[in-house]
Symmetry: C2
Subunit: 263 residues, 2 copies
């Protein structure tokens, strides 16, 4: 897989690809992204990713530079150009584009659309902790879109690393479970596969939706006490399902549901 980048319609070597330093994605985090699982060289669940991206544009009040129906073809052309034949992780980043100094958006933004592709490997089981450094604000509309303001997640991941763990569970402002750093959380509690409902502050994950449909999992608030007695915990993202082998130092007895999903 060659190191190529798709930027605003051109496919170029990553080392020559150029983002304007005045891009609001760089200067102000004014952007969105999607990470898409590629199988046999083809992007998967494209419609769900594009719907979420377009909803993000609506909330942030700018128009995507492509017609929503053209994203899939564009992704496929990029994957062909990069000789991506097997599994891969395709990332799409969409920002409001360059702007003058300050917070106020330009009147006629020219959004920046970037795609990159990376190797995919099946997510390995991880030890996880409950993050205390940062919380999700379940009252914020930003919880509903996949944006590039990732510092909370980065701090939580750093807190996990300080305990020798690789993933962190983020609580919401009520102290209940929202999600993991870049994944949704599922837990088997009293024999029932459970995930927090969207109003607990989790991202509406594409894989989360698929698991809900396939398993009929319950959408119920999950307290820290629930998590402390769960038989199984796993994290879902578009790139797959990742089991927790331990949560806050407690070994988890089961990985049965996660292993049956094979997303």
């Amino acid at each position: 897989m060659s190191e190529l980048v798709w930027i605003d319609g051109a496919i170029i070597e990553a080392s020559r690809a150029r983002i304007d330093p005045r891009d609001r994605g760089f200067a102000l985090g004014d952007g969105l992204y999607e990470t898409i699982r590629v199988r046999n060289g083809a992007p998967t669940r494209v419609a769900a990713h594009v719907v979420r991206l377009v909803r993000g544009c609506a909330l942030l009040d700018f128009s995507p530079p492509l017609d929503p129906h053209d994203f899939e073809d564009t992704m496929r052309r990029f994957l062909q150009a990069t000789d991506t034949a097997g599994d891969a992780a395709l990332r799409l980043t969409l920002t409001r584009g360059p702007g003058p100094r300050g917070l106020a958006p330009p009147e006629a933004p020219k959004p920046t659309l970037v795609m990159t592709v990376a190797a995919w490997t099946r997510p390995a089981p991880v030890a996880a902790i409950t993050a205390h450094v940062a919380r999700r604000d379940e009252t914020s509309p930003l919880c509903t879109i996949k944006h590039t303001n990732c510092l909370e997640a980065i701090l939580a991941r750093r807190e996990a690393a300080s305990y020798g763990a690789d993933e962190a569970v983020l609580l919401n402002q009520q102290g209940r479970v929202a999600e993991a750093t870049v994944a949704n959380l599922f837990a088997v509690i009293d024999g029932t596969l459970t995930t927090p409902p969207l109003n607990e502050g989790c991202l509406p994950g594409v894989a989360r939706d698929e698991i809900l449909q396939r398993t009929g999992a319950a959408q119920r608030a999950i307290t820290q006490a629930d998590l402390a007695r769960a038989d199984e915990i796993f994290f879902s993202s578009a790139l797959g399902v990742r089991s927790a082998v331990a949560m806050d130092g407690r070994r988890l007895p089961s990985r049965t549901v996660a292993e049956s999903l094979l997303l």
Copy 2:
């Protein structure tokens, strides 16, 4: 003033300046910034800005690419190169630099440092509203650093615009006043100049510190009821003091303190 950009030691035309699309500042909002008032071609309050920037690096766990003592010289050389003789706004953006796919930072980050300069004009009085779309999380360490995750502020500014206003006051999770979108808030309440203490979720502003020293303003929690009966409200940033002419539709009777400050 020519359109030049300082990137990682080189001064080049903005239209040719290049950020790597894999830069974590662009991809994940993994960055910090400072906006510095330039007077007579010289940057002001540099030490305070650099201290805050270095504290941000410590929280995010990466090292700045310059020795803290070298920032001022670097700024001065850039301002000379751009023929900045009078007033200006200098912006410094510092990100963790490029990284591979995913949230985990590279083991040896190569941070990206960018400077741009823009015209400065004295901040004009504005109508302001209380934002309801987003709140500050006063329990987050992210409140203490000036980072590039600005979507809350961008949404709040958009909410203000929908009411014909130009600035928004952000509340904290307790529903008390934290700050404005890119400025601290001061209010004259019962005859006392007041600003929220840092633990209410406001940024430790460089101009805020200076105003506290010069005026002896009280640091006290400000409720929405307090704001609704304030005689004067103004917003402070490194670029100056901006009076509120109206707050949530109520005309404010005074601008006396703000006009006496002339920051």
